[in-house]
Amino acid sequence: MKLTRTATALAGASLFIGAMALAQAAGTETIVTVVKVTGINWFNRMDEGVKEFAKENPGINAYQTGPGQADAAQQLKIVEDLISKKVSALAVVPFDPPTLEPALKKAMDRGIKVVTHEADNEKNTDVDIEAFDNTAYGASLNEHLAGCMHQQGKWAVLVGSLGSRSQVQWADGGIDNAKKYSKMELVEPKLETNNDGERAYEVAKEVLRKHPDLKGFQGSSSLDIIGIGRAVEEAGLQGKLCVYGTGLAGEAGKFLESGAVNGIAFWDPKLAGLAMNRIAKMLIDGKTVTNGMDLGLPGYNKLQVTKGPGRGIIVRGQGWIDVDKSNYKQYAF
């Protein structure tokens, strides 16, 4: 029994020494990035951006953390602990923006700078940064589609859910853009796919049956492109049909290879992480973001500033990335 106790005590001690070793040296300023959940590709990629920022700014202690489980409660606890730690700035990607309002208000009241991402409805934030303006992003996707279709023919738009504000804005941006081209005929505006790849596949098949002479698809949810890709492959229409939409290189890669999907677009969480931290540093230094400012990051060269729903401002870049068969492998997340 004595031996077991000694062993347990030793194990306990090593645990704390481990914790001590992991503890980072305190810098003068601390910027902590809190993500929705740790351990998934998207936020691992964001962590690369945060680490790059830390390397650029040796005087600042910048690191990323987040809950191990996807739960708003766990994220809230982390934010509260960081507030009592009196960090200089918080860069948060909220799991559920309304849940964090009282905590972020407390942070701001205590003089902690708050930067958020993917939360343009967050009231208690200094700056909310969005990778891009949704309408402009949808228009850009559509411009690629129009180019592929030689500005003529029938085309259709799919959205994951009509309740998703950003997806509907992407679709509308594309539809508006296509009005420039009189020969492009929109036959199916905004068909819903319930954010489900299987449903997207069925919807795409139905559309192809109804319009055998269809020339183009624009997808919105990242799963739309997967469903459309499957339907196009099955119909053997690779190369005869143009397909563009939001997607992730890892998921859509095989359809890009087969030619069933011509191109996808997304934003890079690494750049978003860098942008959040750079803005947080500016806020700490007493500066603010102004219209047309350049963050020195691709896609964040000419920022658009608008007033937010609460105390802060919303900053938008043009940070989308268009990839096709030739270069999707660079973005493995």
Partner: protein
């Protein structure tokens, strides 16, 4: 047995309590050294004390259901907590204006969410007592019902609660620097402790958990006991939901979806016997505080949350390994099916 208030000399006889107190102490000392005293700052203490109640109240519910024996467990706590907060958030503003009468608004809010919690608990109790469903299956089912109702009521989005001073104070305010949420938790702790130790209900609950068959022959009304127990569980869940709603000024169906397993972990690490008949409120309190201290320490040091999970697992194993004198009832319980009477435990 455990009903008598221990004399000063027997205070150190509970190995589980000693173990938990020791671990608490070690963590606090290590944390103070590592953080150069920052850990003991009033801000951090307040932050920890206001984070603890949400999950610790759920752990109290788990403890009560486990003591009742026969595989008792309440999996529906988190779902009921969110549902009670959400129904109050959706209903009360229609009848009472928060700006004109903040106190009435807050009392209506509190009363309604607690009522929903009690109702949900009674539902669990009725199903377990009269339909004779295993508690784990019954509460798994009601958990899905509660969560599903919350999704349907809110369409999956979070429900905003308008800012009213008195209501917001429940989750965010302090009295003499002590967070009100923590005071509520302590009150719940005292209530449960008093019921378990001083009331006949508590004695009957421990007896029923130790040997259900003997309890029946002793004339303990099993159905009424079960309904009462799960009603208390529901009350704990509703208190937790009330604190969450006030703390975040919103109610969402999936808030705290990671709490269930943590609450079970707290109860088991607090020495509660999963097969019934034993559990001390004080141990559950210190078990909850261990987890809170650890997770806040790791956040303070910027250590990965996964490392925190690993440390929790290690602690649970350590507590099972050498604070385990209280798991004897587990053995007696399995043999009760063959022998009609259990020897009295001291």
């Amino acid at each position: 047995m455990m009903q008598s208030i221990p004399a000063a000399s027997s205070w150190f006889k509970d190995r589980q309590l000693n173990f938990l107190l020791g671990v608490n102490l070690i963590i606090v000392i290590v944390a103070m050294v590592l953080s150069h005293g920052e850990f003991g700052g009033i801000d951090n203490l307040q932050s920890m004390a206001s984070q603890l109640p949400e999950v610790a109240l759920l752990a109290l519910g788990i403890m009560l259901s486990m003591i009742s024996g026969n595989g008792g467990i309440d999996l529906s706590g988190v779902g009921l907590a969110n549902l009670s907060g959400m129904i109050a958030a959706l209903t009360v503003p229609h009848y009472v204006n928060g700006d004109d009468s903040p106190l009435l608004y807050t009392s209506a809010f509190v009363a309604l969410s607690l009522a929903i919690g009690l109702l949900g608990g009674v539902l669990n109790g009725l199903i377990i007592a009269y339909l004779r469903l295993t508690p784990i299956l019954c509460t798994l089912g009601t958990q899905l019902v509660f969560t599903g109702l919350a999704v349907a009521l809110s369409n999956g989005a979070s429900v905003h609660v308008d800012y009213v001073d008195a209501l917001s104070a429940i989750g965010n305010g302090t009295v003499f620097q002590v967070p009100i949420a923590f005071c509520i938790f302590v009150a719940a702790l005292l209530l449960v402790g008093w019921i378990l130790r001083q009331r006949p209900f508590g004695l009957k609950l421990y007896l029923m958990g130790t040997n259900p068959k003997a309890a029946v022959y002793a004339g303990i009304p099993q159905a009424r006991m079960l309904i009462g127990t799960y009603m208390l569980c529901g009350l704990m869940a509703a208190l937790s939901g009330l604190i969450v709603t006030s703390h975040t000024s919103s109610a969402k169906w999936d808030y705290g979806n990671s709490y269930l397993l943590i609450a079970i972990l707290i109860a088991v690490m607090g020495g509660v016997n999963p097969s019934g008949g034993y559990g001390r409120v004080l141990c559950v309190l210190f078990s909850a505080s261990v987890l809170q201290l650890l997770s806040s320490l790791f956040n303070l040091l910027g250590v990965s949350q996964f490392f925190g999970d690993c440390a929790w697992g290690f602690l649970l194993l350590a507590s099972l390994a050498f604070a385990g004198n209280l798991r004897l009832p587990f053995k007696t319980n399995t043999t009760t099916s063959k022998t009609p009477a259990t020897p009295p435990r001291t």
